[in-house]
């Protein structure tokens, strides 16, 4: 199964790290952003990756730490390259941090009937959600460019949400079931929908 993670930031980097042992999965990651010092507190990047593209950095870390090969696409996802980047994907995992990119993904997966699971975090770090596309409402960031759960204080919630997202991927891979999750600090709830 080819699984493409869109966004290699707080959620995307941890999901990749936590999913590495899933069997029969080939991962790809798309991100055009670079690793900055502020990212080191809450995203899965080591210091030598500073300045590198996030997708490239994740590819290097997965190879160096675990001997895992992944596909890295260090580009911005757009309507122009969408088919090329997602056309052969069996599952899209949306970990982007902006509504416009999430909308691009939603339009594509609905048009092509590609399975897709989305995950997001509240700006104040009090809530996270994992939703399969048919039940997903896109939330646009209230103020463009505002802080996005970057501090280390949010790391526990980020990891909680990432674990739930990996579980959603695993159950889809093994049982073809689509599970939605609510995540609050210290508590993760699988929704009976």
């Amino acid at each position: 199964m080819k699984i493409t993670i869109c966004g290699g930031g707080a959620l995307g980097s941890h999901v990749l790290y936590l999913s590495r042992s899933l069997s029969n999965a080939r991962f790809g990651v798309i991100d055009n952003d670079r690793v900055e010092t502020k990212n080191l507190a809450a995203q899965w990047f080591v210091k030598p990756m500073l300045g590198k593209n996030k997708a490239t950095a994740l590819k290097l870390q997965m190879a160096n730490f675990f001997g895992c090969a992944i596909d890295a696409s260090p580009v911005r996802l757009s309507k122009v390259n969408m088919q090329e980047l997602l056309g052969s994907t069996d599952l899209v995992v949306d970990c982007f941090d902006n509504g416009a990119s999430r909308q691009l993904i939603q339009d594509f997966v609905r048009e092509t009937s590609t399975p897709c699971v989305h995950a997001g975090l509240a700006a104040d770090g009090t809530f996270g959600a994992v939703r399969w596309d048919r039940d997903f409402v896109i939330d646009h960031e209230p103020v463009e460019g505002q802080a996005t759960c970057e501090g280390g204080a949010f790391l526990p919630l980020i990891v909680q949400a990432s674990v739930s997202l990996v579980e959603a991927i695993r159950t889809f891979q093994t049982e073809r079931s689509e599970t939605n999750w609510n995540i609050r600090p210290g508590r993760t709830e699988k929704l009976e929908t």
Partner: protein, 79 residues
């Protein structure tokens, strides 16, 4: 009218509230129901002293399953 479960998350706390509500209730109506129920003490897990329009920026999730269920949650734009 069919009973609906509203799962409400507010400032890191969460609770379920059971109330008669049609499946096609508007987002605005659901937000208003939540606010009045909490202020009226019908959702003891959440603090009663919430400001007016406390859920104005919250999202109402609806699910395509058979259950009459709504989730009122903070926005989650970041990943």
């Amino acid at each position: 009218m069919k009973s609906a479960t509203i799962n409400i998350t507010y400032q890191g706390l969460s609770a379920n509230y059971l109330t008669p509500l049609p499946k096609n209730a508007s987002d605005a109506m659901i937000r208003r129901v939540c606010e009045e129920a909490i202020r009226g003490g019908e959702v003891p897990e959440l603090p009663r002293a919430i400001p007016a329009n406390a859920f104005a920026a919250h999202v109402v999730d609806r699910f395509q399953g058979a259950k009459n269920q709504f989730i009122v949650r903070p926005q989650v734009p970041f990943g």
